[in-house]
């Protein structure tokens, strides 16, 4: 190891093996983390990263292997033991009590009292303020969780861990839910923390972030330890090929688009959000067959409501939507699906999957009632299974057992199930919302290829992503959304990051519809 500043080992995981049933999720994995170090964990979807970290945090017990914290061998049987030894974990899906305030959530379970069990909330608020100032974790201690942004909720989770005395902080895919701006803030926070001598273990699929924030990176492939590398002397390409076991191409190769007939025409629609505010506010947009139209924009500018409006999940208050010249405004989701619009939803666990259904059952979520999956209202489990097996194989879903519950899949594999299902629907318009969120680079490559393939078949693709890189790489045309309106459309070939960024912030000149 080339860094001389990392001397003191704080975490040593030795020969960790974890077996679920007869599936080996971790096999003899070694991981060493030093004081003040940022250590990244990299691996494909389902490689076993979350499993390894859940073991360190005491949520799973390893089948074999040893863990040393600050040189002392510890049996981490439950999270309380982990917390006692200074380990904190921020899960990808937060565990906060929504109606409680930030401060209440942070002190939950460790309440300071004024004696007689009376909660000393003043002191709590003060403590939280001090902590948050120290590390630049800006939160409002008195705000309710349900009212704050995802980024702030994440900071609350970090504060919660720090409040419990965390010295070693595990962040499981913290950036998957953040906007680019919030990611920069998080990286700054990580720097502040390591300066204070804390150690960070971070799981992320984004190589750029690893290059930016991490000192070392441990790579896991299919549950096996591959290597621990010094990030400063390893390129993104090297990281990717170590992780996947082959060369990965980052550029999306595609030929020039051959736009065909107009597929979807959105005319001046208004869609309200949950609070009753016009989130989509007079938006117009045309999408053609044979093109990928990317929507670029900062989170919360009406992207979700736009998709919900098109797919019938939310009411369109005014304006109209036409598919192939036929009005489809406010049709039911079922009618929309029948008319061959398919969606890869942005929230895979809420909309995209029934987690307690098997992979098979999930594969037919829109088509369960159609032949050959059902006849006269009776399901053919045999046919459904065969279909699922085919897709599992084709889309490389792991594990390959079609009877596994969707819940048992890693995040990336859950996403693959949805993508397999939607692409196989062979829609005229494919809406892809954050289709690569939480996917590894290999899988991202795959998804992008699938989108381009749809396009090349002459289908229309609407890509909505918060990642500007993705929008710019994959799309043929880019529409910028701001405050519920399309404020400009540019050809992807001529797009540059700065102009788009400016437009996304509401600062660009308004282009006409192209």
């Amino acid at each position: 190891m080339t860094h001389s500043k990392f001397q003191e080992k704080v975490v040593e995981m030795k020969n960790i093996t974890k077996v679920f049933g007869n599936f080996v999720a971790n096999e003899n994995i070694n991981l060493t983390v030093h004081k003040g170090e940022v250590h990244a964990l990299l691996g494909e979807n389902g490689a076993g990263k979350s499993t390894l970290m859940n073991i360190l945090y005491g949520l799973y017990t390893p089948t074999s292997g040893e863990i040393f914290i600050k040189g002392q061998k510890i049996d981490i049987a439950n999270p309380n033991i982990a917390i006692k030894h200074g380990i904190g974990m921020v899960h990808q899906h937060f565990m906060l009590v929504e109606p409680f305030t930030v401060a209440e959530n942070i002190i939950l379970g460790m309440e300071t009292t004024k004696g007689l069990g009376v909660l000393d909330l003043k002191k709590a608020i003060n403590d939280v303020k001090q902590l948050s100032e120290k590390y630049g974790l800006h939160v409002d201690p008195e705000a309710k969780i349900e009212d704050i942004t995802v980024g702030m909720q994440q900071r609350v989770e970090i504060l919660k861990a720090l409040y419990r005395g965390a010295e070693i902080l595990i962040l499981d895919e913290p950036t998957a839910v953040l906007t680019p701006q919030e990611i920069h803030e998080l990286i700054q926070i990580i720097r502040n923390l390591t300066e204070e001598g804390k150690s960070i273990i971070i799981i992320t699929h984004k190589l750029k972030e690893i290059k930016m924030a991490a000192d070392y990176c441990t790579i896991i492939r299919r549950g096996k330890f591959i290597d621990t590398v010094d990030v400063s002397v390893t390129s993104e390409e090297d990281l990717a090929s170590k992780m996947v076991g082959r060369e990965v191409s980052f550029a999306v190769d595609k030929v020039e688009a051959k736009p065909g007939k107009k597929v979807l025409s959105i005319d001046n629609i208004v869609v309200k959000d949950n609070r009753g505010i016009n989130a989509v506010d007079g938006l117009s947009l045309d999408i053609y067959g044979g093109e990928i139209l990317g929507i670029a924009g900062i989170d919360g500018n009406g992207q979700s409501e736009l998709i919900d409006g098109i797919t019938g999940l939310r009411k369109v208050e005014s304006g109209s939507i036409q598919l192939h010249g036929n009005d489809v405004t406010n049709k039911t989701p079922k009618e929309i699906i029948e008319r061959k619009i398919s969606t890869i939803p942005e929230d895979r666990q809420k909309r995209g999957l029934v987690l307690d259904f098997t992979i098979s059952e999930n594969m037919v979520l829109e088509n369960y009632h159609k032949k050959p999956f059902a006849k006269n209202g009776v399901l053919s489990h045999q046919k459904i299974k065969e279909f699922a097996k085919e897709l599992i194989e084709k889309f490389d879903v792991r594990p390959t057992n079609e009877n596994a519950k969707a819940r048992a899949l890693s995040g990336g594999n859950q996403q693959k199930v949805i993508i397999a299902r939607e692409v196989t629907n062979d829609p005229d318009l494919l809406i892809a919302a954050q289709p690569t969120r939480g996917l590894d680079v290999g899988a991202i490559e795959y998804v992008h290829k699938a989108l381009v393939e749809q396009r090349d078949k002459g289908k229309a693709v609407l890509l909505v992503s918060l990642e500007l890189d993705e929008v710019m790489n994959v799309s043929d045309r880019i529409a910028v959304i701001y405050e519920g309106k399309i404020v400009g459309i540019v050809d992807a070939k001529n797009a540059d990051e700065n102009t788009l960024g400016l437009m996304m912030a509401g600062g660009g000149e308004t282009h006409g519809q192209s």
Partner: protein, 379 residues
């Protein structure tokens, strides 16, 4: 706290059969302590209970007859639960089903068999609509089904009392309605077994003769058939797929094009129809009439416990219902056998039931917890 342990526990609980046996034993053990405290010999008491259920064919028949309506109300609760709804209203739906069965059984003049079918259809429809009200209130106005079904239970009770008291339906000098016509009766050979020929024939077969002393009827067969139907609907049909999808995750179901509101109503209608059939089976097979109710009879509420013990599966319900029927039938025999006050017996039976049902309840909680937690691991 420990997820791995949670799921270990879970698999233990869902290795159901063995575990149910253990919890039955625990229940009996605690019940024994209660008996000891009350000053009775538990071994003696349980002995009386056991022989009170198994020592004669007639007793076994009675236990099954006791079990029949509970199996069916259990199916009703289980069906709703599997589709994400908590049907506290089985009680009221049962009352409506029983009432309509008594009305149509008495007032309709139809040939045998056909009369039975018609009564069942009417009872199921009426109780289905009764359950459907709660489904509609939930789908349309977001009223929680627990609240609405509790209120509907009371309305059903008073409706029953009102209708039973109507002239022409109420049997004079009684607190009950007229009895249903014979054409609607589902007792097994009820006239023949009392006739001379029947007696003579039966006297050659002491086992059968004893068995037939109980009001043996087709109810149990109907309960088994309904269990089969429930299993089939839930697991083999597109309707079951829809209802379960909505129960697990209504957002995903909606996204997949499934009508969430319609599903909620459908599910409550089916659950209501099932509970109503329980009432109808009881009227056509056992009571032959409905009476003025001073309080809830508890068939629906017991159905909740049966469903819990039966792990919300169709065939688990049959087993759980039989267990319940045996306890309900055999338990009170302690009272006469040991001169124990009925309160003590009630407490003992309540305790046993509590401990048998509690694992199901814990399992339900664990499932809910692991559902919440399952994806908190940053997958």
């Amino acid at each position: 706290m420990d997820k791995a342990k949670n799921s270990k526990l879970l698999s233990m609980f869902s290795g159901t059969f063995g575990f149910t046996i253990i919890s039955i034993l625990i229940g009996l053990g605690i019940g024994a302590i209660v008996l000891l405290i009350a000053g009775f010999n538990p071994i003696e008491a349980y002995g009386i209970m056991l022989s009170g259920v198994f020592s004669k064919p007639k007793y076994i028949a009675y236990a099954i007859i006791y079990a029949t309506p509970l199996i069916i109300t259990g199916l009703s609760v289980a069906f709703a639960f599997r589709t994400g709804l908590f049907n506290i209203g089985a009680e009221g739906q049962y009352i409506v089903g029983a009432l309509v069965a008594a009305l149509t059984g008495y007032f309709f003049n139809l040939p045998p068999f056909i009369h039975v079918i018609v009564v069942f259809l009417f009872a199921a429809t009426a109780a289905g609509l009764w359950g459907g009200i709660a489904g509609f209130l939930k789908a349309r106005f977001g009223v929680h089904e627990v609240i609405s079904t509790i209120m509907l239970n009371w309305i059903a009770l008073y409706l029953n009392n009102y209708v039973v008291n109507l002239n022409g339906f109420k049997k004079p000098q009684s607190e009950a309605s007229y009895e249903i016509l014979n054409t609607a009766n589902i007792s097994l050979l009820s006239e023949w077994k009392l006739s001379d020929a029947g007696r003579e024939w039966l006297s050659n077969f002491p086992f059968l003769a004893d068995l037939m002393r109980a009001p043996v009827n087709f109810g149990f067969m109907i309960a088994l058939l309904l269990a089969l139907i429930v299993w089939f609907i839930l697991n083999k049909t597109t309707l079951g797929y829809e209802l379960r999808a909505v129960g697990f995750n209504k957002y995903a179901a909606e996204y997949g094009g499934i009508g969430v509101k319609k599903s909620i109503i459908t599910s409550m209608v089916i659950a209501g129809a099932l509970a109503g059939l329980a009432g109808a089976v009881q009227v056509l097979g056992v009571t032959n009439k409905v009476a003025v109710l001073a309080a809830m009879e508890g068939y629906g509420f017991n159905g909740i416990a049966v469903s819990l013990i039966g792990a919300n599966t169709a065939f688990g319900n049959v087993f759980a219902g039989l267990l319940f029927g045996a306890l309900n039938y055999g338990g009170p025999k302690i009272q006469s056998g040991l001169q124990a006050p009925s309160e003590v017996v009630d407490i003992v039976i309540g305790t046993i039931v509590f401990f048998i049902a509690i694992p199901g309840f814990i399992k339900m909680l664990l499932t809910l917890r692991s559902k919440k937690r399952g994806d908190t691991n940053g997958r």
